[in-house]
């Protein structure tokens, strides 16, 4: 299997070539972060900038977030979900296809940093990694974790780890999906009483600070003015009121219906580690069931809410 260093070098080489050829003005990728277990998004505009580009298991933010309305030609270092989001943005006319070059990277899933840190109370000053293990070390201790065991939940059910169908080039050995999301927990929940369901979903967002990091990290949230920022009328109160917070989360998820690629950027960005994707999954399961639609896999598909069939079923409508 190609090592992380080799992948990084290939990304750097591609980035340099694209800049030199004028195919892109900027290459958006990742560089090493300033603290252990982090990477920072990196905007490479010169060949020297490109030398800092790396590939890592901590690259959990979705870089497609930066694309909409970006003037000029961009090359994007993309794992499967990032590429799907970028495709979605092109389909929704937020990004011009001719301005976009996707450097696809075969992804083995990203690790859940919050979970690693929660399981390790000692302060870790260094983290190293290869394709199979994460090594953490601090003052006088070292521990290693199997990468496979600390994968993010969404990476376990990813359907497109390698964006081979949409990327302009692919780096790394093709990786295959582990398994698709069977929504078993949601099916179980569907059989419970409304009160139980509500308690579960309200419980998820109990600690929400309403910082809207989930919205800002989401590659699909590009509205010029978000409904939470509207003031005339003001749809949501600004206080910590439970229903205002809950309504925000319901509508945030609904705005992503049929578009969400389960990239997990919302959960990654959340400072309170709220399982935001649970709201999206409710819609994802329904979109799959009713319209057999999975977003971001091809350039010519239409998101389900922007189209219709005259014989669409809706038995609940009298």
């Amino acid at each position: 299997m190609m090592s992380l260093e080799e992948i990084s070098q290939k990304i750097q080489a591609s980035a340099k070539r694209l800049l030199a050829e004028g195919r892109a003005e900027v290459v958006i990728g990742y560089r090493r972060g300033t603290t252990p277990l982090t990477v920072a998004p990196h905007f490479a505009r010169t060949a020297e900038d490109c030398d800092q580009l790396v590939w890592s298991s901590f690259a959990k933010i979705n870089l497609a977030t930066y694309l909409p309305k970006y003037p000029g030609k961009v090359a994007l270092v993309a794992k499967g979900c990032d590429a799907r989001s970028a495709v979605g943005q092109v389909v929704e006319n937020q990004v011009l296809r001719e301005n976009l070059y996707i450097i696809g990277v075969a992804c083995n899933g990203m690790v859940d940093v919050e979970r690693i840190l929660a399981g390790e109370p000692r302060p870790a000053f260094e983290a190293t990694e290869d394709q199979a293990t994460i090594k953490l070390s601090g003052e006088g201790w070292i521990t290693s974790l199997a990468r496979e065991e600390v994968l993010r939940r969404n990476c376990r059910v990813c359907v497109s780890r390698t964006p081979s169908a949409t990327a302009d080039e692919v780096i790394g050995d093709q990786t295959e999906p582990l398994s698709a999301d069977d929504f078993a927990d949601l099916k179980e929940l569907a059989g419970r009483s409304p009160a139980d369901k509500l308690a579960y979903f309200k419980g998820l967002v109990k600690e929400c600070l309403r910082c809207y990091a989930c919205r800002n990290a989401c590659p699909l949230c590009y509205c010029p003015v978000c409904f939470v920022d509207e003031t005339r009328p003001q749809w949501l109160g600004k206080s910590q009121d439970e229903m205002d917070t809950f309504t925000f989360h319901v509508l945030r998820a609904f705005h992503c219906a049929g578009r969400c690629t389960s990239c997990g950027a919302c959960e990654t960005a959340c400072p309170m580690d709220i399982k935001l994707r649970e709201f999206n999954r409710v819609l994802e399961s329904e979109v799959q069931k009713d319209w057999q639609y999975t977003p971001g896999l091809t350039w010519d598909q239409k998101p389900p809410l922007t189209t219709y069939r005259p014989d669409d079923e809706a038995e609940f409508i009298k």
Binding site: T35, A40, I61, C211, A213, A217, T231, K238, P271
Partner: protein, 342 residues
């Protein structure tokens, strides 16, 4: 000042005494995260890096009801706003404040009460509280209090400082109020703590980063720093999400909102964030900070230039590292401070 030793087997009694005396806020697990929150004596933990969120909400809650009015015209005072809650302050003792956070509260204190203005909602809570710090022996990878004028054994903003000693505590009073409070606690044994605290302070500080050079920022004109080219680069990757401002112990901006129904109305204040588009948008629709570059720059200028200007050189960043750890795109205030000074 008075010095005490709390042995391991006397810890529980010590926390019980604190809780008996006042409402006890201390580091406890809330929903899987360590937070400074109302705690039962048996829940208090001594083994932690720092609380997930800053303790500012003890005095400056995210949503605070300030005043209310009713619409009952049968009474003499309908539609008249009356202050809420000021007469219902429960005296509080905070145990386990990290010295960085105590410094952060002291900075907020200067904002909420100074020679021009006093905020009664802050003042009544802050001044009636006793703040007992817990020195930091295991600073994390994002900790840099020593770089911005603080110390893991710092005393600013604290009434007393404790350190873990043999699974118990070494404790010393710092202010009169602290000494007075500790003196009244039943069962507290005197013992030498001062010299040990001083010694350990040196040991921990030596492991931590040296002072961050901010001489050029301090001497430079605001406009020059304002126009530095590096802002654009940092803004490239900023998501403008506001996480940094919500977890920051010295971010203190708020937004006042009125809500009403058919019976009356409430005026409340809620945390606001300069990362938000809504923060500066005018009634006309004009926004003086139209893009994320201006909004992100504002936060760093406020922390590293404006607060030092107004508070005698005291850095507005106290080095707790929360924004560094929680920023989804790893914008590190230490790097930005260096660029500003560069």
């Amino acid at each position: 000042m008075a010095e005490y030793i709390v042995k391991e087997n006397a810890l529980r009694a010590f926390f019980q005494a604190l809780a008996q005396e006042r409402r006890l806020l201390a580091p406890v697990r809330v929903g899987g995260k360590l937070q400074m929150a109302e705690a039962r004596p048996e829940e208090v933990t001594l083994d932690y890096g720092n609380t997930h969120q800053s303790p500012k909400s003890a005095f400056f809650p995210q949503t605070e009801r300030l005043m209310a009015f009713h619409k009952d015209t049968a009474q003499s005072d309908p539609f008249v706003y009356k202050p809420l809650g000021l007469d219902k302050i429960t005296p509080t003792v905070l145990f386990g404040l990290r010295p960085c956070d105590a410094q952060g509260l002291a900075i907020c204190d200067q904002v909420f009460q100074n020679d021009r203005f006093t905020d009664p909602y802050w003042k009544t809570k802050y001044e009636s509280s006793i703040k007992i710090g817990l020195a930091c022996d295991q600073p994390g990878p994002a900790c840099f209090c020593t770089a911005v004028g603080g110390s893991p054994y710092g005393e600013a903003g604290l009434d007393a400082l404790a350190a873990v000693k043999d699974a118990g505590l070494a404790l010393k009073a710092i202010t009169e109020a602290g000494a007075e409070f500790l003196k009244k606690l039943p069962g507290l044994e005197s013992g030498a703590a001062e010299s040990e605290l001083a010694e350990r302070r040196k040991a921990v500080e030596s492991k931590m980063p040296g002072p961050l050079d901010q001489a050029k920022v301090a001497a430079g004109a605001i406009l020059d720093i304002f126009n530095q080219p590096h802002w654009k680069d940092t803004a490239d990757r900023c998501l403008n999400c506001g996480t940094c401002t919500f977890v920051c112990p010295t971010c203190h901006c708020f937004d006042i909102q009125d809500e009403q129904n058919d019976k009356g109305g409430v005026r409340m204040r809620n945390w606001d964030t300069c990362m938000s588009w809504l923060y500066t948008v005018h009634g006309t629709g004009h926004n003086p900070r139209p893009t994320k570059t201006e909004r992100m720059r504002q936060r760093f200028l406020h922390k590293l230039k404006y607060i030092p200007l107004k508070q005698n050189g005291q850095s507005g960043c106290i080095g707790c590292g929360r924004c560094v750890t929680l920023c989804p795109v790893n914008i590190d205030i230490r790097e930005v401070a260096k660029q500003m000074n560069g």
